[in-house]
Amino acid sequence: MSPHLTDTDAAQWIAGTLAPPEADALEAHARTCTTCEALLQHEARVEALLGVAARQSVVRPLRPRARWVALPLTALAAALALLLLRPDLPASTAADAGVTASLPEVPAGDETHFDGEAPPPEAFQARAPFSL
């Protein structure tokens, strides 16, 4: 009777780091032993989780050129967001800034439209920065 697999055996079998004869011997035992088969299944789930973690934890650094582009773009986005959120800003100023294309469309006669004097409705305030 061959002995049960240890945690290390199972982890190495799953990782594929064992020599073929050793891997075959462990598998031969596990095929006749539900306990060890369950241990291999457990290790396989752990391995799957590790794989996803490895994929998701990647924080890719910006390439040098991307950094040069990202900084001005971030500043521009912040400026546009400020422009759109200022309640005292006349609509014409926003249009001059070239940002009206990103504003949500307001149907004619809608009482909630932005008239340049009244503060924009909450929904508009919430949506405007995200439409940039």
Partner: protein, 181 residues
Amino acid sequence: MSRARAGDRSAWGVLVERHTHRVRVALLADGLGLDDSRELAQATWVLLWEKQLRGELERLELPGLAIAQARFLAMDLRRRRARELDRDDEELAPSPAPRVEAAQTLQRLEAALRERPALQQRIFRLAVDEQRPHAEIAHAVGLSLQRVRQILWEVRRALRATLDEPKPPRSAALSPREDPS
């Protein structure tokens, strides 16, 4: 890979040898047994080879394509067995609770991996995410094969320490296999 796509049988054999274990591990992780994983992995390669011959394979991205195909076959197998046992397919569907648990576990793992030195992270990703052979990784990072394996083992051990998933209970004696019928 391109030779295999062109129908080179020996190149195809190399791919099968290289990726079969990974396919089987994916099936084991889904709860299939060793015998089923072996049979389904073989069936998967046969199916892919036939698709290749019919010109139906636009891309040959491995092991992802083989694992997806094998999972499809596994689902089919489960359905057939469920019908044999007169069980509803819904009984086989995973409940949302383990998914939430898995998401939390993943967050812990990601955090633990980020704490490792950059070189260890790189080696681990090359091995586990990109599935590169250890010898290739050793060459890429300029370390010995033995050192790469040692590092992989250390990272795995550290990450596993963050897992508190309960292990299957151990029994003192060999357990007889359950009869599916």
